[in-house]
Structure formats: C-alpha cells, structure tokens
C-alpha cells in the first residue's frame, strides 16, 4: 500500500482540507489537498513539533502525542512519527473526529514510512 493510499481515507473525511506527510526536518513527502503551499506547511509543521519536543524535555511531561493549532475556521493537527510528521488541516467543527481518525492511521503510516511504532 502506498503512502497516498494510507492517507486517502483520512483526506476524504468530512471537513478535512488537506493531509500531508513530511520529514521531521521539514520536507514534504506526500500531500493530498489544495490551496496550501506544501513546502511551507511541511517546514512550519516541523518547527511546531520541534519546539514542542524541546519543551517536553524541559517540562518532563513525556513526548508530544500531537499538537493542535486552532484558528477561527480551521484546525491544524500535527502528529509526530519517529522520522516523519502527519499534518491534517480540518474545519473546526470536524476536528475531534479528525483527531481520532488520524491517530488510527498513524500505525499504518508508520509501517509504510519505515518508522518504528
């Protein structure tokens, strides 16, 4: 199964505007969706997660499971894997369901990307 095929069910979920897999250092690997610059989304998603990981070390709260950035109409969700990041852009009202679906996709995505689970 390709990465695109793993992402497709999530991308077709109600309210989801875009899904992207990128490397932890900010390079886009695969994206389904329109209207967003893949390179900028990948770079800033990596930055958000890196700052969260640095804070995790200092706060001793464990690893970040995900980061959620809320805007007036949209929510950006960032899920870290060992070497990659899954980003989901979703309408605010549909965000809770998207979180659950994305968490369900992560193990298959990790397997496809060769990341340990």
């Amino acid at each position: 199964m390709s990465v695109r095929e793993v992402l497709r069910p999530l991308s077709e979920t109600a309210g989801v505007m875009a899904v992207q897999v990128s490397t932890r250092d900010g390079l886009a690997v695969e994206m389904i969706g329109h209207g967003l610059r893949a390179d900028v989304l990948a770079a800033e998603t990596a930055a958000v997660l890196e700052s969260s990981r640095s804070a995790a070390d200092r706060l001793m709260l464990g690893e970040p499971a995900y980061v959620s950035v809320a805007l007036p109409q949209y929510r950006l969700l960032c899920f870290p894997l060992e070497s990659h990041v899954l980003a989901v852009v979703v309408g605010e009202d549909d965000a809770p369901a998207a979180v659950e679906l994305a968490l369900g996709v992560l193990p298959r995505l990790a397997a496809e990307m060769g990341d340990p689970t």
Partner: protein
C-alpha cells in the same frame, strides 16, 4: 483583584494543574500552580510554539491563532492568546497545564467568562 488572584480562581477549575500568563517573549507575568508545577518552564514554551503557529495561520489565511494545544504523554498544555494583539505577536498568553484533554471544555468555558477580568488585571 491582582493577576495572581484571578489566576488562582482558574486553578480551582477541575483539571487545571497550573496556569500562568506569559508575555509573547516568554517572560512570566503571573501564575498559580499546584504542588508539581513549574511555571517558568511552562512559560518557555510560548514564544516558539506560538511563533510557528502564527506562520501556519498565515498560510491558511484564516485569521489569528485562537489557541494551541500540545498533548504530551503525561499532560496536555493549552496556550490561549488573551487578545487579538497577542495572537498577532504582541501582548500576553495564558498557559494551562491540565490533567487530561477531557478537561479542555471546562477550562475554555471558565476562561471565556473570566477573560475581561484577566485582561483588566494585566500590567500595562
């Protein structure tokens, strides 16, 4: 009421383990914490977490960040700009550490009702 007094009211909300107000540069302005809290370290999270969030907000063209949540293994941390000015890069941010994500709704509701008092208690 002083800022710290207002924040102690928020600490009484079930699920809140610490709360502080931080400048956009990460300087701690005021706070209230439970026994295991470490407000200074929580405050350090603000500049980098919100900085990248603002760039992402610009990418989506959907206005300013209204809040950011980082769910760590042991506890979620919620960051809420206290004004549109804060969301755009100036002003103050309220930072909560919570027991669980399930407490989010309760915290958001109380913060919404207390927001005018919090803003009034901020240093000018």
């Amino acid at each position: 009421m002083s800022l710290d007094s207002e924040l102690r009211v928020l600490l009484d909300v079930r699920g809140v383990t610490s709360v502080c107000v931080v400048g956009s540069d990460g300087v701690l302005i005021g706070g209230a914490e439970g026994a295991d809290g470490d407000l200074m370290r929580v405050a350090e999270l603000v500049p980098s977490a919100l900085g990248s969030s603002r760039v992402l907000a610009g990418l989506l063209g959907d206005g300013e960040v209204t809040q950011a949540l980082v769910e760590f293994d042991r506890a979620p941390v919620l960051l809420v700009p206290l004004s549109a000015e804060t969301a755009a890069g100036g002003g103050h941010v309220a930072v909560f550490t919570l027991s669980a994500v399930a407490d989010l709704g309760r915290v958001r509701f109380r913060l919404k009702t207390m927001l005018p008092r919090l803003i009034a208690a901020l240093p000018v």
